[in-house]
Amino acid sequence: MASVLKAIRITFKYSLPVLFGYIPLGMAFGFLLRSAGYGPLWAFVMSVVIFGGTAQYLIVGLLSAGASVPQVALMTFLLHFRHIFYGVSTIPKFRGIGAVKWYLMFGLTDETYALIATEEVPKGLTKTQFYTALTALNHSYWIIGGVLGASLGSLININTKGMDFVMTALFTVLVVEQWKAHKIHLPAFLGFGVTIAALLVFGADNFLVPALIVITAVLLIIRPYLENKEARL
């Protein structure tokens, strides 16, 4: 128990940006869900078993429209397709982690993945402790936000407009951290270039899947070049 508390205490600091992002985003989901006639218990269950913002915002519309199972499956597949790539690139980091690995895989949201991919395991914690605490903390923020939103409905009216920028700021900071961690910066430029091109070509609703495929394909194609360059540094 002491070690669990210690893991949470040390990890909390790393999860703070996600706390400030997930509570308002979760609440926005809760409000939306409430307006469609679903209460806090529904918000709780969805946030526990789905744990994905993009799909959960969409589910409100799907519930109201009484969407079919294949329709829901396809939409979820497209929206969460990027998580496949998070999984593939996290395999080396999750080596040697026990049964809790199943929970960590499930918890690979954008933000949790970004932190795990970038942050070094802090001194005094094992990687299992750090990743588990991080995932569980982030998950709990998301659940709390959703339940709060669905409970309060439109009762409260805090002006949180613009607070979602916390996620953009988090990714910005992680770009800088990744930049510092690597000597070769081509992948970072590739990410920007391909994603912007895909956004222009496919539009804001459909660009992620082609962007992911092209980024990964180009990386694999230029792998000999990058590894060669790496060896000469």
């Binding site: 600091k13 078993v49 009484g66 499956a73 994603t195």
Partner: protein
């Protein structure tokens, strides 16, 4: 079918597809009896910086440069977050200051 059951079915479908997408890469490519293949170690190293860049663009996907405020609050605050982080290297400072400035900008200045 009742509304309750159809809601449960929709939630379960979304959950199962999400879990599969997150878990399948490990089931397919992560074989405990083997070394992690070279191409996966390579992607483990170079996919993260590319995907962080992608996620920033993803956050900005709704941005318009042709209508007021022309993306100024976003670009300004991203530059501030990056600048602060290169300078001080303190995650909470970089994120906190840039987010507060962004909220001020969209609520008061460009409202």
């Amino acid at each position: 079918m009742s509304d309750f059951m159809s809601s449960v079915l929709i939630i379960a479908t979304m959950s199962v597809v999400t879990i599969l997408l997150r878990v399948l890469p490990f089931i397919i490519f992560d074989r405990a009896d083997r070394e992690v293949p070279g191409w996966i170690r390579f992607l483990g190293k170079y996919l993260p910086p590319a995907l962080m860049s992608m996620l920033i663009i993803y956050c900005l996907r709704g941005l318009s440069f042709t209508a007021s405020p022309y993306g100024i609050p976003e670009l300004l605050c991203i530059a501030l977050a990056a600048g602060l982080h290169i300078w001080k290297g303190n995650v909470l400072l970089s994120i906190g200051v840039s987010t507060v400035l962004y909220m001020v900008l969209v609520q008061a200045v460009f409202a």
